[in-house]
Every structure is written in C-alpha cells, then in structure tokens.
Symmetry: C2
Subunit: 344 residues, 2 copies
C-alpha cells in the first residue's frame, strides 16, 4: 500500500523483478480489493503470489511512535511479521520510513552485537561503487554504532558488491587525524586497530562518496541523509544544465540528435531508479525501503536488492563476524586514551 | 604565499580582477623575492600594487592553535593586520583555512551581536543562486549561532545577490516540524517568530541547496562542509560521465563536435572557479578564503567577491540589523517552550 503510487508501482515492479530473479515468490499485504484487479493483469506473477488482506495501513504522515501504537492489522506490520514468523525471507516497502524502521526493529530485533540498524545504499562513483551508511535511521551516532556500521558496511560491500577486502572511511571535514567530532576521532582510533572484514583507510570527505576513494563510507544518519539528498540535487541540476545546453543553438540541437543514443545510455547510468532501495542493515531480517516516489522500475530494483541480500545469506555472515569480536572491551580500551578536542 | 600555486596564481589572479574592478588597489604580503619577479610581468598591476615583505609564512599543515602562536611576521598575519589598522579594506587568502579563521577572529573580532563567524558561499541552483552557510568554520552550532547565521545569510543574499526579501531555510533531514536535532527545532521556532531581513520558510533538505527552493540555507559547519564537498564530487562525476558518453561511438563523437560551443558554455556555468571564495561572515572586517587549489581565474573571483562585499558596505549593514534585535531575550523566550525530542 505504500509509496506515492501504491499497488500501481508495487505490482508491476514485482512483475519486472520476477523476470530478473526467476525463483522469486511474492506475498502482497494490503487491501485485497485494490491488489486483485492489478495483479490479474499479470497472470505469470499471479501464479507465484499470494494476497494477504490487511484492512488498515500506516499513513505517510504518521509519526513513528503513533504508527507503532496503531499498527495492528496494518499492511506494513503484517508484512514484517511474515518475515519474523518465517513465511517470508524479506520485506520491501515504499511506505513511511520512520514507521518501517520502528516496526521492523520492534518485531525483527537487531542482530547480536548491533545496537541499532542503519540505512545503507550504494552510490555510483568514478571508480566502482560506494556503499554509504547511515542514510537517515539514526540522527546521532555514538562510537560503538559507528564501528558497527563500518563492520556492517564492509560485510555488505564484500557480499553484495564483491569487494574482497573493502576499504572503509569515516566521513569527516578533512582527512587529518585531529579533524572533526570527538566520536569520529575515537571511532577512527578503534577501527585502525581492529581486525575486521574491511581495511580502515581513515577520514574521507564529501567528494569521496562518488570518486571511488574507498568502498564503504560510514557516517551518522543526519549527515548521510543530507549528503544523499545533496547528491540527488546536484544530479538533477546537471541534468537540467545538459538539457538547457542542447537547446541553446541549432548546432547544439543537431549535436544532441547525433549523440542521442550515447546520452540515453548516460541517463540510464545515472538513473536514480537503478540505485533505489535502502536496506536496514543490522536487523535480524531483510527489510528494504523503496523511495516512496518510485515507479515500477525503481520498485523492481528494491525487490531484487532484497532478494540478493537473502541469497547471499547476509545476516548469518554478519552475525558470525560480530560474534568473533568483543566490542565492549574494544571501545572501553580506546576510550581511556587521548580525548583532546582540537576540532579545527 | 598561500594555496597550492602561491604567487603564481595570486598575482595573475589580481591582474584579472583589476581589469574587472577598475578601482582595485593591491597590497601583496609575502616574500619580496618571490613576489617581485612575477609582479613585474604585469606593469599595469605593478602600478596599483605595493609589496609588504613578510619573512615567514603559515604552513598548510599547521594546526590553527600552533599557527596562531607562531604567527608573528607571517604573511597571513600581516595581511589581516592591514585590515584592522585600516591600510586595507579586505583580505583574500588561499592559505590554511583554520589559521585564517583563528587569526582573523583574534585580530578583527566579530561584529557586535555575532558569537562566531561562518563561512558562506553561493551554490548554483536550477532557479537562481543559493547562499549557504556555515561551510566549515564551526563544526557544532548552538541555537543563537544558527539564528545569527540566518540573519547574516539573508543580509548577504540581499546585498550581494539582490534578493529583496530572501527566503531562508534550515538544513534538516525532512521538512516536518518534528524532524532533526533539538537545536534545529528551537532555532526554527525562533526564526518563525523573528522579524529580520529574510523570510523564514522552515526546514529544507539536501536537494534544496541546488533547486532554488530558498535563497539562503543555514546549517552547522560539519554538515555544510560535507554537503559542499558532496556537491563538488557529484559535479565531477557528472562531468566524467558526460566525457565518457561522448567517447562511446562515432555518432556520439560527431554529436559532441556539433554541440562543442554549447557544451563549453555548460562547463563554464558549472565551473567551480566561478564560485570560488568563501567569506567569513560576521567578522568585523572583510576576509575571503580562496580554495587552495585554485588557479588565477579562481583567485580573481575570490578577489572580486571581497571587493563587492567592501563596496556594498556589508558589515555596516549587518551591524545595524543586529543592533535592532535583542537576541538573548528571544532565545531565552523560546527555550522555555516545548523541548520534546521526538527525532524521527
């Protein structure tokens, strides 16, 4: 029921995803009367789907705390519960992000050793692809959370993007060791001593999100969310300038005509729909958030993303890696060292 | 002496700026033996310039606190002192940002009513231009600072960019009132009641930096710095994709040939050198930081930017507007209201 287009992007999106991942099976949670007529347009999809009627839904404007209180019999809650009781291996939603986070955390719980989940996604970069987290689940992050996110991000980069030993950076305002908030300096000091699935490379800056300097960038949810939306905004601005450029003269219009195929390819490479889907990394269950405004192509990508996480046995591997570390003693060990707050 | 290219970008940059603003006069602070041979290549510039020999310089790697301690007889310190003793109306530097901030704050002091200066700059947007501050001077900002920055930014937008009543937004992770940090919610509550030179429009998000939704965006220096560098990174990524696109086929290369003039115009519109120069807004004196890596065109822009601020009598107007407000009572008045911390 979630997202701006509800069943009209979710069901056609599932249809596209089913063609790309042939062993996908679907459970649709929502109002049967809305789901059925759309689903019947896709007989192949109908054959691998079940409908679970949910009389209620969570509104996009609901506060997370409100949403949790009145979540009984909502499509979102029933879908998450399907994961917790084993009837589904992952859940994808285009609905209220805060509510999805709160409900999935309450119902699925966090993986052992993880305090809070983070929203992770992949940025296109000049060299390769960059995994970035947290993109908005936790506005403030303490030292253990930043370290947990570095571990989660590096495991993600390895399992999903195939980087054998991913490089990890902490997002800061400069690369020198004395830069930034105290939490960042402490987390950096611990990560540089830690033997984990990634290779810690120190502090990185905003342009490192898209230049491929590191494979994983870790930040708090406030900064990550602003960076994500800033990147989207500059992408739109570039597209606008390009469109205007090809309107300026007859010669430019002629040039655009010749280069049309190549320009379309470029537009596809930068298409935000192909990067749609933010995972709640660290949850004991696969839960992927689709951008609410996405059409069927974007939604299909979010579904494939959830599928790939299930197939890679992601959460089991995270659990194994976390169990091998004694996080508390590590953090306490470093906390007792240099606490100097020389920020600039 | 500052920046990656020292006198080789500063002096040619001054030469370009002198042609654009005909009544500019220059004082160059640095090593005379380095300045003189370059300056003599530009006789017109030589006629309107004086050289002030400074035997020492602050290094790019110096910490601000170190830099201040050993600042005697450095080119940066002497240049800032020229402003404080009235021998210059503004200072431009491509040197160590933290040192420039610390020294200029120590020597020039803040304007009445301003606690700390902010680095401000202008982002290109789909509609118009957006003034953004703080871009890195203050990693953490309290409520009075955010309000002061909103006032400084709106005065800047009016005087320099000609917006008669600039719209102002606070950068956050969502536009709803309950979003974000406590400081942001308090500052928003105060700004919505405040009669100042801008019109407060509420919370804005990362993409509003470049879509023209508001004329001024206020944020803390950590978030602002990450957003600025993220935007620069995505700009580079777009340029990279475009270049690759026109290499993909013979037809695309032909198209690029036809559209060459228009593409060059686009590149110019997005040229970071034309947006070079961040002002320390709120200082009792005009001090502009040029990006260290800039060539002469970038440096010329930073000089013209400083010139325009001097000509608009910027600091006098800020002082008048700040004097008209009783900041302390305003902040205290709102602090006693709702402090609920419902973040998501």
């Amino acid at each position: 029921m979630g997202g701006d287009h509800g069943v009209n992007s979710v069901i056609p999106g599932a249809h596209i995803a089913a063609k790309e991942r042939s062993d996908l099976r679907f459970s649709f949670f929502g109002h049967e009367e809305q789901i059925l007529p759309v689903l019947e347009k896709y007989p192949d999809l109908r054959d691998v789907s079940t409908i679970h009627h949910a009389p209620l839904k969570i509104d996009a404007a609901d506060k997370p705390s409100q949403a949790v209180r009145k979540s009984k019999d909502t499509s979102m809650r029933l879908a998450i519960e399907a994961v917790s009781n084993g009837n589904a291996q992952g859940v994808v939603s285009g609905g209220n992000t805060g509510a999805l986070m709160a409900l999935s955390k309450m119902i699925l719980k966090c993986l052992p050793g993880i305090d809070r989940p983070a929203i992770a996604s992949v940025f296109p970069a000049i060299h390769g692809k960059t995994t970035v987290l947290d993109l908005g689940a936790n506005l403030e992050c303490d030292v253990p959370m930043l370290i947990q996110f570095a571990m989660l991000g590096s495991i993600y980069s390895r399992l999903v993007l195939g980087h054998s030993r991913p490089t990890v950076g902490l997002l800061n305002v400069g690369s020198e060791e004395q830069k930034g908030h105290e939490e960042l300096r402490q987390a950096g000091a611990i990560l540089s001593q830690l033997n984990f699935s990634g290779a810690y490379k120190g502090f990185v800056e905003g342009d490192d999100l898209t230049n491929g300097e590191v494979d994983v960038v870790v930040t708090d949810g406030f900064t990550g969310n602003v960076a994500l939306k800033t990147a989207e905004g500059v992408g739109k601005l570039s597209k606008f300038y390009l469109k205007e450029t090809f309107k300026t003269s007859f010669m430019a219009k002629l040039g655009a005509l010749f280069a049309l195929g190549a320009l379309r390819k470029m537009q596809k490479a930068l298409d935000p729909r192909l990067y749609n889907g933010g995972m709640f990394l660290g949850l004991n269950g696969i839960c992927v958030k689709s951008h609410g405004g996405m059409d069927e192509i974007g939604f299909a990508n979010a579904i494939c993303y959830a599928y790939d996480l299930v197939k890679s046995d992601f959460n089991k591997k995270v659990t194994e890696q976390m169990a091998a570390l004694d996080m508390a003693s590590l953090v306490n060990g470093v906390k007792n060292t240099d606490n100097k707050n020389d920020a600039a």
